[in-house]
Symmetry: C2
Subunit: 235 residues, 2 copies
């Protein structure tokens, strides 16, 4: 049975890395002593090693050890044998490119479908959807495909940001960008605000955290879904 | 001799479509009675026809007629025969995909290099760089390549936005995103603020408008370049 925590962000304003999620992660990863960390998204270009060191420090607080996927000679076996998996944020184009280049996109999807507990934040959450086409990231590298894990039957927009009505900036709002996506794609998009996460247990998807999420569907008015809602109906 | 106006945005806060640029466009397109408009970027998913109607209304103010590239049976010949060309903003992924699918990316570069006056705004400016990899847009469609026209020897980030120091949002700033680009690419990136444009005459590139632009180079501290600067040295 699938078990995922899909977080909008790793860090909320004024907090430290993953701290707001640690109580939930203690439950989520209760059967795991060691987590496999996928550092491919490299926020700000940080190295795989440095990124893994940061993640290791956060999980030490709940007594989990962490190994980086880049430390294994065979990434496929590493994923298949993992007790639990965390994919960190950063650049989604880079993450997806690396998952394809290391031939682990499909195996990661299969492994999580079989029940290995998974945590994603930001880019690591984006890839749980149908495609990475509603990422906010810059296309710093050309991936072989935009198709992602498909562990949930819709797309995500992490770090969802409401339009700033005071702004004099004329660039597109997040909502305008998602509307452009829906001019060409029918996949629903969930705007997940910072501090929100999805808890996926089998086919049940619950919105956690204190904030509502904003659902965008093709040719429909966007709607706010309250914290605590069951989102299993979205497809 | 190349003649380009490369604008950060079509519209500045409180203004109407292209109005702040019309005096410069009157000079830039002085030899043209009719402009060829490339509507492929479709902001907000607007149709090619509707987009062309809006552009036609703006250019009527300086007595230029406008035809949309989609109105021609043969887009290659339409580009080669154009008196002047304008590529409007919208989604850069869509624009680049359509330019490749209609087999006009290369012919557009060749035609502008030969001296056909060109105007780009936003996505239409992005494509004048080496690649579209510093766009702000959402990857709503998968283009066959991220390589663009290469009419200037660097990349652009249109609608450049300074970090909001008051913000509690933890998503990446524009500067962080460009830094991620430079973790993997050496092409310089010019952050062009709204209201700024580049005037390209042959190999000379001048920063126009009232604002400075922000130059990002790999492994170097970003620098502000004053309005009116000659940017021909950037490569």
């Amino acid at each position: 049975m699938k078990k995922l925590i899909i977080a909008s962000t790793s860090t909320i304003h004024g907090g430290t890395y993953l701290d707001y999620l640690l109580p939930a992660l203690e439950v989520h990863f209760k059967t795991c002593n060691e987590l496999l960390f996928i550092p491919y998204a490299r926020p700000g270009g940080i190295s795989h090693d440095d990124y893994t060191v940061n993640v290791r420090a956060a999980f030490a607080k709940i007594n989990k050890s962490v190994k980086g996927l880049h430390e294994f000679a065979d990434p496929i076996t590493a994923i298949q044998n993992a007790e639990g998996i965390f994919t960190g944020g950063g650049n989604t184009f880079l993450l997806v490119t690396q998952l394809y280049e290391n031939k682990v996109m499909e195996i990661l999807a299969e492994t999580v479908k079989k029940g290995t507990p998974y945590l994603g934040s930001s880019a690591g959450s984006n890839i749980t959807g149908i495609s990475m086409q509603t990422t906010n990231d810059m296309p710093i590298i050309y991936p072989p495909s935009f198709t992602t894990l498909g562990l949930i039957p819709f797309n995500l927009n992490p770090h969802y940001l409401d339009p700033d009505l005071q702004s004099k900036h004329m660039g597109e709002t997040r909502e305008t960008r998602i509307k452009e996506f829906h001019a060409f794609n029918s996949t629903p998009v969930l705007g997940l605000r910072e501090g929100s996460w999805l808890e996926v247990t089998g086919e049940t998807i619950i919105l956690k955290g204190e904030l509502s999420a904003r659902l965008f569907r093709q040719n429909q008015t966007p709607e706010e879904l309250a914290a605590g809602s069951d989102l299993s109906w979205i497809k």
